[in-house]
């Protein structure tokens, strides 16, 4: 188990190395530079070149890459050209809103999706099943930004129950923090809920048709126990994979939702940095997101063993 964990961690190194080269080349070969954007559109070529030199952007691209990767290996991801703060600091300050949204959206989606997925599976072919599947199809089809706009219009503009945009850190009050995140979390969570609900239903149906379930029923085991003890656990592996993937995508930053609700998270950071050609931040965030994805997948793989003893990794 430990060896497996170590191997997976070591496998991060080539992934990060390749990602770093690709992202470095792509963003440095894209036209535009941070100096022009800092100085504004009336800056002279001479002023732009002077600031470029100050930022180290006049050096050959290979030299720039080795400077950057050398510092990154020592934990220094550089300094934002635009925000004038260390990239690690920028990532940390933008991570808190993203994690908050991810946790709330994840919780909402799980609380909705698992029960309705079970309901649909146990009432297969009934109106309940058709309604759940219909709603989940709509949930998957409606983009989160569109749902977000509807939520803003209804609960923000019309009813005035919740703020339409913005973010309040948890340190300024828990209730205020939650109040700003409810609408974006619903907008994000509903799409993921739909996906997980469908996965729960299909996975459960597969297990419900197995012989050992029929045996349990013929022995008179209560339907509740059949679902919770005998079916759900065995059906949970594919559901867990989807949960892991959706949570990973939430941590990577929901770009559009964060923009609509004006949440200063990782998604907004990366989109703003691309618009500002803030190379150091783009590189730093991409590396961070890559690490996050790999680690979440690793955690999901390890949880397989916890849920299902048949896939425990130390068994030969």
């Amino acid at each position: 188990m430990k060896m497996y964990f170590l191997k997976r961690l070591l496998s991060l190194i080539p992934v990060l190395f390749i990602v770093s080269i690709v992202i470095f080349m792509i963003i440095h070969l894209t036209p535009g530079d941070p100096a022009s954007l800092v100085l504004g559109e009336e800056a002279t070529e001479e002023q732009i070149q002077a600031l470029r030199a100050n930022m180290g952007l006049d050096l050959p691209i290979v030299t720039q890459y080795f400077h950057w990767i050398g510092n990154a290996l020592q934990g220094d991801l550089g300094t934002s050209y635009f925000m004038r703060q260390p990239v690690t600091e920028a990532i940390v300050s933008h991570l808190a809103p993203t994690i908050s949204v991810a946790i709330i959206a994840g919780t909402i989606s799980l609380l909705i999706s698992i029960p309705i997925g079970i309901l649909a599976a146990t009432r297969r072919g009934t109106n309940t099943d058709r309604t759940v599947m219909g709603i989940s199809l709509i949930g998957m089809s409606v983009p989160s930004f569109l749902l977000g706009l509807f939520l803003i219009l209804l609960f923000g503009v019309k009813l005035r129950w919740l703020p339409v945009a913005g973010y309040q850190p948890i340190t300024d009050g828990f209730l205020g923090h939650i109040k700003y995140l409810i609408l974006p979390s619903i907008a994000l969570g509903s799409m993921h809920a739909a996906l997980i609900a469908r996965m729960t239903r299909s996975s459960l149906l597969e297990v419900l048709n197995m012989n050992y379930i029929k045996t349990a029923r013929s022995k008179g085991v209560h339907e509740y126990l059949i679902i919770t003890r005998h079916t759900l656990r065995n059906a949970f592996l594919p559901i867990l994979t989807v949960i892991g993937q959706t949570f990973g995508s939430l941590i990577a930053g929901a770009v559009v939702t964060e923009t609509i609700f004006n949440i200063p998270g990782i998604g907004q950071l990366i989109i703003n940095s691309v618009e500002r050609r803030d190379y150091a931040v783009i590189q730093g965030v991409v590396l961070f997101v890559t690490c996050t994805y790999v680690l979440i997948n690793l955690i999901v793989d390890l949880l397989y063993g916890v849920i299902d003893p048949r896939v425990r990794l130390n068994k030969k």
Binding site: G32, D33, A90, V164
Partner: protein, 539 residues
């Protein structure tokens, strides 16, 4: 079989339960809709209390400024925030004329080569230090070095200290537009403490300290910039007028929130999340005007949309081709596509702002907005145009630029110009347009300036690269004219020459900015942007 029956029975029960839930859901939705449609009635007693002003003014802006060191950047977002932090020796009044702010008096020598600025005494910086000539000299000389306009127009001029409260500007040539250039809004000459400037790196100052009515407090990246009322502020004398006169602050704090999405800014100001929203989308104008709890402004202070010709390389170096295209352009159609509302644009050949009391002129109107396609075809033929490909640049990041370019491309096709429209994001366009080999035509937004010599249409360094002996000679004459009237007359002649003969740009029209604020704010003044002094917010 029995089991199946049992399951089937359960399903029937489930169906009944489901029906009940469905009915409840419908009822809930109807209630939601009814509540949503109800009007917001004022609560009993609301508005009857004695007004007490203060609190935090929340302003939603569309982008985060790159820096608040305004000597370095021309970013309009940086200027919107910085106007509250810094002040200048002279600034614009509401008629765009220069008047003293931190200077008490300004005296011009008889030979026009020296300007003496007597400073107001007792003016404090936000760090508690009193402003003296040392700070002014350090700030102004840095501005001359860093600002592209000052570099171009006031090159080799120096500011020197005469005594603690007197600063002298020494010029190489006796130009008359010195104060107008110093009062310009873009990259303005903010007065900062000398020691802050001495410690500044190439990327700007590390502390934002000025003498303005608000002091910089905090900057949460990508969230907000927080300013606080400066209790020791020393206002200038006189009625508030544009950026000059007294500035009384009625709010305790100002937060500039970075809200990049325009629909979010709109919903935010509608619900009172923000008090003021800048840069509202043109297509929401009518909706904003008709929203009962909002006050919406559309001042014509933003600038003009123009077609810029590349006069350094390619076929547009031929002025006859530029004249031909100019003759075929229907500016009304372009502007209508750009901003989508007749109330938000003005058709005028003015290169300067039509509101500018000193310089506005419609000289050259005979060749403006002709939309004469047949004449354009004829002129193109006479100019020797042979269906060469013409590259038209525009950005897709600004809707009004993009929409203008699409209509323009259509008009060019009708004239018989083989135009290829290339759309880029803003940073890419900034980069690509610097190479004169890349393009022939470009759609650009042109901000207003205080004197003709600052116009991008006459700037030899700005993309488009105007390079004409007659223009530079005329500008020199305007700058040394004995009187304002003489200068204006010469500018009128020059504008006519530029439109009829040289054609550096074809101007489509002037457009308004759209700014909305909640109706809870009183005495909100708009001058290029929302001015945050004098405005009152009930606590």
């Amino acid at each position: 079989m029995n089991k199946k029956k049992a399951l089937s029975y359960k399903s029937e029960n489930g169906r009944n339960g489901m029906m009940k839930k469905f009915v409840l859901l419908i009822v809930a939705l109807v209630v939601f809709a009814l509540v949503g449609c109800s009007k917001d009635e004022p609560k009993e007693g609301e508005g009857s209390a004695e007004a007490e002003y203060g609190g935090t003014l929340k302003v939603a802006m569309s982008a985060q400024p790159p820096t608040l060191d305004v000597h370095l950047t021309t970013s309009s977002d940086a200027i919107d925030v910085s106007l509250n932090i810094y002040e200048t020796l002279v600034a614009q009044n509401s008629k765009q004329q220069a008047e003293p702010v931190l200077a008490e008096t300004v005296e011009k020598s008889d030979d026009g080569l020296t300007y003496t600025f007597k400073l107001r005494e007792g003016v404090k910086f936000h760090n508690g230090k009193e402003m003296t000539a040392d700070d002014v000299v350090a700030s102004m000389n840095r501005w001359v070095e860093k600002s592209s306009r000052a570099k171009l127009l006031l090159a080799d001029s120096t500011f020197e200290k005469q005594d603690d409260y007197t600063v002298v500007l020494k010029l190489k040539n006796a130009v008359t537009d010195v104060l107008d250039v110093m009062a310009g809004r873009g990259q303005f000459p903010a007065i900062m403490p000398a020691e802050i400037l001495a410690s500044a790196g190439a990327d700007g100052v590390s502390e934002y300290i000025g003498t303005g009515p608000f002091k910089f407090t905090d900057w949460k990246q990508d969230r907000f910039i927080h300013l606080t009322k400066f209790d020791d502020y020393s206002p200038a004398e006189g009625e508030p007028d544009g950026l000059v006169g007294s500035k009384t602050v009625y709010v305790d704090d100002v937060e500039f929130h970075i809200v990049t999405d325009s629909s979010t800014r709109m919903a935010g100001v509608q619900t009172g999340e923000y008090d003021i929203a800048l840069n509202m989308p043109f297509d929401s104008y009518e909706q904003l005007v008709n929203t009962s709890n909002l006050q919406t402004f559309s001042p014509f202070d933003k600038g003009a949309i123009s077609l810029v010709y590349n006069k350094k390389s390619g076929i547009m170096t031929n002025p006859e081709l530029r004249k031909s295209i100019n003759a075929g352009i229907d500016s009304h159609s372009v502007m209508l596509a750009a901003v989508g509302n007749e109330k938000l644009f003005k058709l005028s050949p003015n290169f300067m702002s039509p509101e500018n009391a000193d310089w506005a002129t419609d000289a050259g109107k005979e060749v403006y907005n002709l939309g004469d396609v047949e004449k354009a075809k004829q002129l193109l033929k006479e100019a020797g145009y042979n269906n060469e490909e013409v590259i038209l640049y525009a950005t897709g990041d600004y809707d009004h630029h993009y929409n203008s370019a699409v209509v323009l491309k259509e008009q060019l096709s009708k004239m018989g110009v083989n135009a290829k429209l290339e759309i880029y994001d803003w940073p890419t366009l900034l980069d690509k347009r610097n190479n004169p080999e890349n393009w022939d035509l470009m759609v650009a937004g042109i901000s207003y300036v205080t004197t003709p010599s600052q116009l991008l249409a006459v700037n030899p360094d700005w993309p488009g690269w105007t390079n004409d002996e007659k223009i530079s000679t005329a500008l020199d004459e305007i700058r040394v004219a004995a009187t304002k009237e003489e200068a204006k007359e010469k500018w009128s002649d020059l504008q006519s020459y530029m439109l009829n003969d040289y054609v550096p740009h074809t101007q489509f029209g002037h457009y308004a900015s759209v700014i909305s604020a909640t109706d809870k704010l009183e005495d909100l003044t708009i001058f290029n942007t929302a001015l945050l002094w004098e405005v009152k917010k009930t606590k």
